[in-house]
């Protein structure tokens, strides 16, 4: 679902129970060769606790948290703690939120990702080809917000951003997901 940064460092992937039921668990054969440490917890509070602990571990390449809905625990303070810790230890942190409202958050970049019909398959006109999304950077600390179409190039294993909706600066970040991402 996402294009992970390169490197051999393991990924800590924390999900609450609702995310796991609704959107499934990360599936290794579809993610490629990489070490993923999956943590399944029941409450959103525990997701935040696990994320904070994971951000202190510089051996990790990425910390991903998935929270369903708008829990009370995920307020401005909690996101600010995550953002500051992530900046201090230089471990990227993605907070993936589904069926959530874009309320107050201290995340450095906040993205909204919606899937678009995929490109046509070069060999089979009936089959879906490379996937595309509409990504919208709707709040950012150091970049200009904008809307792009992201396209995953399977052959080159990278994500291309193009700007059909408006002329915005092309962000260098690989996208984050559905609603917003910290840092």
């Amino acid at each position: 679902m996402s294009h992970l940064p390169r490197g051999e460092a393991p990924v800590l992937w924390v999900q609450d129970r609702m995310s796991q039921k609704e959107a499934g668990r990360p599936y290794l054969p579809g993610l490629g060769r990489r070490t993923v440490i999956c943590v399944e917890v029941s409450r959103p509070v525990d997701v935040l606790w696990a994320l904070e602990e994971g951000l202190r571990c510089t051996a990790l390449g990425l910390v991903v948290g998935e929270v369903w809905g708008d829990p009370g625990a995920l307020d401005f303070t909690a996101t600010k703690r995550l953002a500051m810790r992530s900046e201090h230890y230089k471990v990227p942190c993605w907070l993936v939120r589904r069926s959530a409202s874009p309320d107050l958050s201290a995340a450095r970049n906040r993205w909204r990702v919606v899937s678009l019909p995929s490109l046509t398959h070069p060999e089979d006109p009936k089959a879906p080809g490379d996937p595309r999304w509409k990504v919208e950077l709707f709040r950012s600390r150091d970049q200009r917000p904008g809307t792009w179409v992201a396209r995953y190039d399977r052959a080159a294993d990278r994500i291309d951003l193009s700007a059909p909706f408006r002329d915005g600066a092309v962000a260098e970040d690989d996208g984050a997901q559905w609603s917003r991402a910290a840092r």
């Binding site: 679902m1 990360p26 290794l28 999956c38 051996a59 899937s115 678009l116």
Partner: protein, 488 residues
């Protein structure tokens, strides 16, 4: 030492066998077999010719060894120092311990009675040296007691086999005409030294004789069990919350572990309540740890599980399982590292959420999607498998496939429209089918094959559907459809 537990009756000739170079050989015999002429070390097929109704069982050598170690520790009821002696003996250092049991003879009687209650027959002897005790127990009188100055006269009549020598040396001595220990002791020392100058200990009768009569020291180095690592706090007043005492206890524990060179794998915190109750909590680590802060944080969120009752006045923290841990300098300048190591992160997550919540998926050789990955403990060392055939697989998989209702143009083809989670999705594009047959060596008979389709709906969601079974496969009614995963 023979085990009498569920042994055959004494009048039946029975032997234990072990694997030899050319088939099984006799490992141990009972009395009836010995009387029938069966000797240890002979081949079972040869012995069957002598004694056709021989009862043969295989010996459990590893089990015997474990039982002997347990017995060695159990024998510390009589004296503090005990040690294993070959495959069939235990040496007890009873100096200063015999008077507690009424003298040496009474102690031997007590030992024999208690060992027979365990179902063991024992040959016992007390002697001033290891070698003399070995000789007297096997070749001397029943329950022989040898005073310190009587070692030479008591050993003299015993055969040379009592000197713990190799079979080749025994053969040599027999050819030289030396049959008893006394005859060896009578040979001038100089000629014996010259004859066995280059022989090692187990082939040197002179050294063995010296050991037996105490001219050469042979100390009993007791096999000690691991040190008990524990820290305790006794409080003047009963309290309800141990949090304030925990850092101090952890640092005490860690300094003890540093002293012994161990790291803790499992910790147990016990509080002794004033109303006579005990309450314990445990924490485990994924690698040996000796860091007080880390150990302390393992109890975060667990201390609430303690039932303090009316308060407790004694706290005990012990390392239940310890493993050796070397001292490692992490940085050249010796400064502490601020960040958290991966094993410690795993420990914390495991301590808080349980072992089943923190897993690492690894690839597994299987075509069935839910078996293509297995979850192992996060720091478990598994062999990395080669990536499977490059078929496109979804990035996310539902734990339980969700059944959907479909409309299709042809029964074997892809769906045109389906209802999933009460929403109707129109299929705009599809790829497939990819047929995955059940694994007959795992699945129940009657499991149906699956045809997987990658479909995309009009809003761009890409899903992984499958149809279970075919229309006329004779394994149940109409095939059912499921959503199994989501593509990126």
């Amino acid at each position: 030492m023979e085990r009498n537990g569920a042994a055959p009756p004494d009048e039946v000739a029975a032997v234990l066998a072990r694997e030899g170079q050319h088939g099984p050989v006799i490992h141990a015999t009972n009395r009836a077999a010995r009387l029938a002429g069966v000797t240890e070390g002979a081949r079972v097929v040869d012995v069957k010719a002598i004694c056709p109704d021989l009862h043969v069982e295989y010996a459990d050598l590893a089990g015997d060894r474990l039982a002997q170690e347990r017995l060695m520790l159990w024998a510390r009821r009589w004296c503090p120092w005990t040690v294993l002696d070959g495959p069939d003996g235990v040496i007890l250092e009873t100096t200063g311990a015999d008077h507690l049991l009424g003298g040496e003879a009474a102690m031997l009687t007590d030992m024999e009675a208690r060992l027979s209650l365990l179902g063991l027959s024992a040959q016992l002897a007390v002697a001033p040296t290891w070698g003399a005790a070995w000789a007297l127990a096997r070749f001397g009188q029943v329950r022989a007691v040898c005073p310190a100055d009587q070692a030479i006269p008591m050993l003299d009549p015993l055969p040379v086999a009592a000197l713990r020598l190799q079979p080749e040396t025994l053969l040599l001595l027999r050819r030289l005409g030396l049959k008893t220990i006394g005859s060896i002791a009578g040979v001038p020392r100089l000629s014996l030294t010259r004859r066995f100058a280059s022989a090692e200990l187990s082939a040197n009768p002179l050294l063995r004789l010296d050991q037996a009569i105490g001219r050469l020291a042979e100390p009993v180095a007791s096999a000690d069990d691991r040190p008990r690592i524990r820290a305790e706090a006794r409080l003047a007043e009963p309290i309800q919350d141990p949090t304030a005492y925990l850092p101090d206890l952890c640092s005490k524990l860690c300094s003890q572990m540093l002293h012994h060179g161990f790291g803790s794998r499992r910790l147990r915190l016990t509080v002794y309540c004033t109303d006579g109750e005990l309450s314990t909590i445990e924490a485990a680590t994924s690698a040996p740890v000796r860091d007080p802060n880390h150990l302390c944080r393992l109890f975060d969120g667990k201390l609430e599980r303690i039932n303090p009752g009316f308060g407790f006045d004694q706290i005990l923290l012990e390392a239940v399982v310890v493993e050796p841990l070397e001292v490692v300098q992490t940085r050249f300048d010796g400064s502490a590292e601020d960040d958290l190591h991966l094993p410690r992160l795993i420990d914390r997550l495991t301590a808080r959420f349980g072992e089943r919540a923190v897993r690492r998926p690894v690839l597994h050789e299987s075509h069935v999607p839910e078996r293509a990955e297995v979850a192992v403990p996060a720091l478990c060392d598994v062999q990395e498998m080669a990536p499977p055939v490059a078929r496109e697989r979804p990035a996310r998989l539902l734990r339980v496939p969700e059944e959907i209702r479909v409309l299709y143009a042809v029964p074997e083809g892809p769906p045109v429209q389906f209802v999933w989670r009460r929403q109707t999705h129109r299929v705009t594009r599809y790829a497939g089918p990819e047929r995955i047959a059940p694994e007959w060596w795992h699945d129940r008979p009657g499991t149906r094959l699956r045809d997987y389709f990658k479909v995309e709906n009009e809003s761009g969601q890409r899903l992984w559907l499958y149809r279970e079974g075919l229309y006329d496969d004779g394994r149940g009614g109409a095939p059912r459809w499921f959503v199994h995963g989501m593509f990126v």
